[in-house]
Assembly symmetry: C2
Homo-oligomer: 317 residues x 2
């Protein structure tokens, strides 16, 4: 798997190791991204960890040759970073993905690839709930590059008969998430503030709706996709429970007494790439893959906060 | 302008030089692409030609600083090449464009940029005629990268208040086109075969419809877009006259007696990225910019073939 020391990748690695699968964990461990060696604590002796950048094409050819499935999770996930440094986002989220697919085409054309795409490809919803046919009009560089990479994956299916599939993730949260800075999604930063009894700031009042998925459910989706012949060449929205940002802040405040919640005006640079309300129609993944999320937002947050409290020094420095 | 020694760029350079504009022509002159020094014959002393690759960010910062308008025409245009060498297509059509926009953002935020996009972003038409709202589902790597670059242009308008605009070109033809090999569009290759009294092969019978624009009309569209305040932040289809491939072959055969036309089965690799019939709805550019193509296909082909006959050694070697 790529991005295997990151948030979702490492949770998937733990699950696969429990199933006694043969797992190669590839991660670049780039500073300030999601890769964190501690995420693999407890499975290090059961997986092969290789610190490799997807941009290193020579290494890829070697590593990809024998895989049956690639869970393709590597990526730069910060929308904000993509706007200040678009070239790096392009290299990581688009160029590396093209290189990975080219390497598979030349060295392992029969591998199954499940790509972690994102609701960000839709941009501002033109209608709700957002289904897979909704126009793709990303509002930031990250969304453009993720969309491009998703299109590459499907193109390699259509043109080169390769087995590819994409899951469009919504806001995922859970243990092993990067919560040390504010640039990787509001939910991570809200949990951070809860853990340090800090201040949760709600931009513009916090009425915006989001759909949240607990990481174990996302892991289930990746496994179901990889195991299902019907998933080949398909794109699936993931979904979960809808909550407003204010509701989430309040839930975290209850789980972490002492946290304050304040409403602040929307910063101009954030407002420009904000998408308003979002929630998905995910009938397709339910009917075709039999996937349903099982962990509620409240239970998920409780589990996440318990994990972070136990290992605080590894996630907040 | 970028790609200024190429087909459309050089025709635009000739026009601008006639208007006594101050013109900087940037071209990488990469072998096998459209750049051809002979294309600038007659205007070399009236424009500044700089042989620069858009991937050279340091050079860009210097060159971009003083421009008022960038006609952004640089690109790799072969669909076939993009499938065999996707990384190069990505670097040229997507990464270089992101670098150009970043450079403008930092060094010349008030410049007007007119980007040469393509009907290829639509992929196989889901309905005809194709308007600007038609879903974008490119069928080849070239289409994905051009779409990405187009999205970057519009994003830099929405987020950074820059003046950008994109024209989605359909099949353009005319003097100074690259006709020496078969990888840059059928019309160029048909003209090549006509000029050498060779054989025009029609894949699958040649019933597929295309919409053709003579290069002088495309040049008009670029000038109108750059001069119109209403074009800022907009995307426009260009259009022209509809012809089947068989009709075009027959027209060239009449203009070049001795040329043969044969029907051959569709090669498998080409069929997979073929888009079937295409023609556009271009009401938007007509109503908003007042653009209408003026040169018919037949007159355009006659002019083109006359130009190539006069300068054959510079275009067919």
């Amino acid at each position: 798997m790529t991005g295997g020391a990151g948030f979702i990748g490492s949770n998937l690695a733990h699950r696969l190791a429990a199933y006694e699968a043969r797992v190669t964990v590839l991660d670049s461990l780039l500073p300030n991204y999601g890769g964190n060696l501690f995420n693999l604590e407890g499975v290090r002796e059961r997986v092969w960890l290789t610190v490799t950048d997807l941009r290193d094409v020579n290494a890829l050819a070697y590593l990809i040759g024998e895989q049956e499935i690639i869970f393709n999770l590597a990526g730069q996930v910060s929308h904000e970073d993509s706007m200040t440094d678009p070239m790096t986002d392009l290299d990581i989220n688009c160029r590396s993905q093209a290189a990975l697919l080219e390497t598979c085409r030349h060295h392992n054309r029969s591998v199954r690839i499940v790509y972690a795409s994102t609701r960000q490809v839709y941009g501002r919803p033109q209608y709700l709930p957002v289904d897979e046919e909704h126009p793709r009009s990303p509002v930031d560089v990250n969304g453009i590059n993720k969309l491009s990479a998703e299109k590459y994956h499907l193109l390699y299916h259509h043109v080169h008969d390769m087995w590819t599939c994409a899951l469009r993730l919504t806001n995922t949260f859970g243990p092993r998430q990067l919560i040390k800075h504010a640039r990787q999604g509001f939910i991570a930063w809200f949990m951070h503030q809860g853990l340090v009894r800090g201040e949760i700031q709600l931009f513009g009042g916090g009425a915006q709706l989001r759909e949240l998925t607990y990481v174990d459910d996302v892991v289930n989706a990746f496994l179901l996709a990889a195991m299902s012949d019907a998933a080949c060449g398909q794109i699936f929205n993931l979904g979960g429970e809808r909550r407003s940002l204010a509701e989430l802040a309040s839930c975290i405040q209850q789980l972490c007494p002492g946290t304050t919640v304040t409403k602040v005006p929307f910063p101009a640079d954030r407002l420009r790439i904000d998408i308003g309300d979002y929630y998905a129609n995910w009938d397709k993944v339910r009917t075709m893959l039999g996937w349903t999320p099982r962990v509620s937002v409240e239970v998920g947050l409780e589990r996440s906060l318990a994990f972070f409290r136990e290992h605080l020094g590894h996630y907040i420095t």
